[in-house]
Amino acid sequence: MASKAVRLLGRCLPFFPGKSIPNATRVQIRQLELDENINMYFPKDTTFFAHDPGQVCKPGDIVLISSLPKKLTPLIEHEVLKVVYPFGDITDPITGKKVMNDMYREDIEYISEMYGKNKKGFDYENAPERGWQEDKKDFSHKQSYRRFQVYDKEDKQPYAVDY
């Protein structure tokens, strides 16, 4: 009998510096591990590479991944099924409305209108999709490297990452 595909819910992490893995996202899965000494559950994070050919996942999204019946590559054992909650754009499944933390966006609109809308404030309705600055000002989705040791002030390294 073939083993059941294991489904897990995790959060997308930014790409993996130093290793370019095409069509995959890094997903962090949080599971509870029982500490036998005090019989208490503690969260334990594991990172998986999930096959994502359409690059639908962005860092911070909550995604549902499923284990593949056969490993795609030595590193990729899972595939992304769907993005459950995109980062910053969560839809409350009960009502179907867009939310921001503990308020509905329409309530935030309403309150800001009562107080007087700030023209510089973020406009959810007309804001472009996440990732609109990719390849223009945002290069975090591209292959990068861990920041080299900075010896003098002129060495800026604008495209290095610090983690």
Partner: protein
């Protein structure tokens, strides 16, 4: 109760963990609870997570139990099944007991099913048992017992057809 530290250390006893009433169905793979730190309508969900979530994880070690805090205005529980569907349970303004009884109805194994599984487990646990559903099909598999008559015929003095033959 050793290490009686922290709030409600009873939650950290094996007896408490084993007394969890929520044994999720085999279809459930992920059990996620969304609730907020503040808000009266989330109090039931917060109590459920505080008191019952360790029990749920203990009873269902194969399920990923995950919590999300401060994401939506109303609390809910979402279970992801192996078929790809998810079960959405609204727990807005519900008490911990209401949540527990609702979950038991919706996505947990019924008491009859649990009793049947306990009997099946017993059969598996007792290694001396043989037959259908057990580790060994027949007693002839054990060294020291009479070997299988299909493989090694019994001696003639033990065979009824030869002992009681009238001709």
């Amino acid at each position: 109760m050793p290490f009686m530290k922290g709030i409600a250390p009873i939650r950290r006893t094996v007896q408490y963990l084993q007394s969890g009433k929520l044994s999720l169905k085999d279809r459930v793979q992920v059990f996620s609870v969304h609730y907020n730190r503040l808000g009266e309508n989330h109090q039931g969900a917060r109590d459920f997570v505080f008191w019952n979530l360790p029990q749920v994880q203990y009873q269902n070690p194969q399920v990923q139990v995950v919590t999300f805090k401060n994401m939506t205005p109303t609390p809910f529980i979402r279970c992801y099944l192996d078929s790809g569907d998810d079960v959405l349970i609204d727990v807005d303004n519900k008490s911990k007991e209401e949540i527990e009884s609702h979950l038991k109805l919706v996505i947990c194994k019924s008491d009859e099913l649990l009793a049947k599984e306990a009997i099946a487990q017993e059969k598996k646990d007792n290694e001396a048992n043989f037959g259908y559903g057990c580790q060994r099909h027949c007693i002839c598999e054990m060294p020291g017992q009479v070997p299988c008559s299909a493989v090694c015929p019994l001696p003639n003095h033990m065979r009824g057809k030869l002992r009681f033959a009238t001709d």
